[in-house]
């Protein structure tokens, strides 16, 4: 306890817009936990914080950008990735992180996700997957497990969900990991690795929504979710992503699944243009405004 007294400030505070706290997230929500991990990853990755830009879409996780004391952009629903694409291409010196939810990134924004992964643009995509549309009141998402109740599947979901790590790998991501909000240390490490890796990185965070998912599906509160994650998560680093799908009551395979190298979009672009245009190619690292 003596230690707590000499550290008057939470180390995460330097990354937060404290004037905006308290945040809008519910008690037991996992988004705040993920932000804590992210703050730790920022410190440990030693990235230049003035060159970090956070882009969010719409939804509960979409609010992350607004609480982080970094250059931060709260964009339109589903379009965080194409916004981030413009940011990164116009100033490749920026470290661009997209921080958003499962509905935003994989329903309305699904097409942008696969294309950014295909291009292998140097972005870190952090997806807080709470298995539901939370901001709008608990509707079914493309990640909702079969038979789970939501406000628009009152008799249980009957659409199969995406297996996000498999989707990311198939589309071309160079780094793919999944953790739950129980795995704070592993999650922070994965975030750090992704921040230090070139190419399109994807981290899925299985996170509780006590208000809309847990309660409706009789899964208890935030604490019960932690117990559930602790019991049912199995760490299998390197597991084939085709084997990591989960359903409402099954084990959740977590771990770092993919860590590979592919040429990045900016790399292939410079290479191709230099090859075709030679000295005439006006290669710029920063698209300056005139």
């Amino acid at each position: 306890m003596a230690e707590l007294e000499v550290i008057p400030e939470n180390p995460v505070e330097q990354f937060l817009r404290m004037e905006r706290i308290p945040h809008i997230w519910c008690a037991g929500c996992g988004i705040g936990t993920s932000v804590n991990c992210f703050a730790r990853a920022l410190i440990e990755s030693k990235v230049d914080l003035d060159k970090v830009a956070i882009v969010s879409g719409i939804g509960c996780t979409g609010r992350v950008a607004g609480y982080l004391k970094l250059d931060s952009f709260h964009t339109t629903h589903g379009r965080a990735i194409p916004f981030a694409t413009g940011l990164k291409l116009a100033n490749p010196k920026l470290k661009v992180i997209v921080y958003s939810g499962d509905g935003d990134l994989f329903a309305i924004g699904g097409n942008h996700f696969i294309h950014a992964a295909r291009r292998n643009l140097d972005l870190v995509i952090i997806c807080v997957n709470n298995l539901i549309y939370a901001m709008t009141g608990g509707q079914v998402a493309p990640t909702t497990p079969i038979s789970a109740l939501s406000s628009t599947t009152p008799y249980g979901c009957y659409e199969p969900p995406f297996n996000l790590p498999q989707l990311a790998e198939a589309a071309g991501a160079t780094y793919v990991a999944r953790w739950t909000t129980f795995h704070v240390r592993q999650l922070a490490r994965s975030m750090k690795e992704a921040l230090n890796k070139e190419g399109f990185s994807f981290i899925e965070i299985i996170s509780p929504c006590p208000t809309l998912y847990q309660r409706r599906n009789r899964m208890g509160d935030g604490l019960d979710a932690m117990k559930f994650y602790k019991q049912r998560s199995k760490i299998r680093n390197g597991a084939p992503t085709s084997e990591v799908a989960f359903d409402i009551n099954s084990d959740i395979i977590v771990g770092k699944f993919v860590d590979r190298t592919r040429p990045t979009l900016l790399g292939t672009m410079h290479h191709q243009l230099r090859e075709r245009l030679g000295e005439k190619y006006a290669c710029v690292e920063e698209v300056a405004c005139h």
Binding site: H74, K88, N91, C289, H290
Partner: protein, 385 residues
């Protein structure tokens, strides 16, 4: 300031409107474009894609128009001048991001080479039927600036003006071309870079601790910063306060929406560009824009030969609409004749602005080609009765 010579293809060229627009973008300093192929607008980004690696900058073909219209805004906040180009169906998809640019005050240019609609319509043939969509297409209240060129030369000139206005007022600006002007090839004179006026980005001089993204210091247009400059600022499409933070209150909404509409409304007379001729003493004034203005010019000449006193009001800036000018003219003339390649869009504005002082005679045309000069002539003769 004047244009960066790297992007300026000074000389006399024989270019179509789409190519001239691309050269206008380069001359204006655009160093980023995102697009999605759609007839009849694609040639703009085809030329940009060919030229930009030689000038220094990036073109990316995105997966759809939603992506293109927001990628350009990411690029703007990273420091580039940026634009996208589309037509009919793509313009519909871009509406949300025109609103985002208006709300976040992101300077950028949207080019719409109009084709016949609704839906897929007439991909290869002209129309001017997106004029009201340009004004009102995104949800919510905002003001917009839209320009309408009548020739490839004006595609070049007005593209530069579109960028300058977008920087000056921090607003999306729409260049409303049409298939005919876009695919029409004529002489285009590109002046030397030092003769091209460029409105620079309104970057702040304030240090980070004194800067707030939407503080205007009494002016109506706030200053900007770019990502990576150390300001750690926040931008949102939600209603926001001076700090850029979401502010979910009627008070914040009122303050913000009044300001972003006022910054354009109050400057409407300065923004508006018109070509006027023969209005004093006219009994009929023809109001037109874009390709239709050229056809209307021939009709005006034919009518004058028949002894009718006809004036010309050509709108190079369609939005903001020059209410004040139409109201003045309405007091002096019998009627306005408004030919356009739609079923009557700007005609409604003319009618509204004339406040009943003069009659409005629309000359609607569903598009696919331009009016026959005789069609407009007939309307002029009818209006002069």
């Amino acid at each position: 300031m004047t244009a960066d010579p790297k992007g300026v293809l000074t000389g006399i060229h024989f270019l179509d409107g789409d190519f001239a627009c691309a050269e206008g973008c380069l001359a204006a300093g655009a160093r980023f474009a995102a697009g999605y192929p759609i007839t009849p607008s694609t040639e703009v980004v085809e030329r940009f894609a060919q030229r930009i690696p030689l000038v220094g900058g990036t073109f990316i073909q995105m997966e759809d128009e939603l992506a293109a219209s927001i990628a350009i805004q990411g690029a703007v906040w990273a420091g580039a001048k940026a634009f996208t180009v589309t037509s009919g169906p793509g313009f519909s998809l871009m509406m949300e991001h025109i609103g985002y640019a208006a709300m976040t005050e992101t300077p950028c240019v949207f080019v719409n080479v109009q084709r016949g609609g609704p839906s897929t319509g007439l991909p290869t043939l002209p129309a001017q039927a997106d004029m009201m969509q340009a004004r009102w297409g995104s949800h919510g209240d905002y003001e917009i600036i839209a320009l309408s060129p009548s020739s490839p030369q004006e595609c070049f000139d007005l593209t530069i003006r579109a960028f300058n206005l977008s920087e000056q007022y921090r607003t999306p600006v729409l260049l409303m071309m049409d298939e005919c002007v876009g695919h029409m090839t004529e002489k285009v004179v590109i002046p030397p870079a030092e003769e091209i006026e460029i409105y620079p980005r309104r970057l702040t001089n304030k240090p980070p601790e004194a800067f707030q993204p939407y503080e205007t210091d009494g002016d109506l247009v706030p200053e900007m910063v770019h990502a990576g400059m150390g300001y750690r600022f926040h931008i949102t499409g939600l209603t926001h306060d001076e700090r850029g933070y979401p502010a979910m209150s009627p008070v914040a909404q009122d303050k913000l929406i009044r300001r972003i509409t006022a910054k354009i409304r109050n400057a409407a007379e300065r923004i508006s560009m018109r070509e006027e001729e023969g209005i004093d003493g006219a009994e009929v004034v023809v109001v037109s824009y874009g390709i239709t203005a050229r056809v209307a010019q021939r009709s005006i000449e034919l009518a004058r030969r028949k002894g009718v006193r006809v004036g010309k009001l050509r709108l190079l800036t369609v939005w903001p609409f020059p209410d004040w000018r139409v109201r003045e003219i309405a007091k002096q003339v019998k009627a306005f004749v408004v030919p356009e390649l739609n079923m009557g869009q700007i005609a409604r504005e003319v009618e509204r602005a004339s406040c009943g002082a003069a009659r409005t005679v629309p000359v609607p045309h569903a598009g696919g080609t331009v009016h026959r000069p005789e069609q407009i002539l007939e309307a002029i003769l009818e209006a002069a009765k």
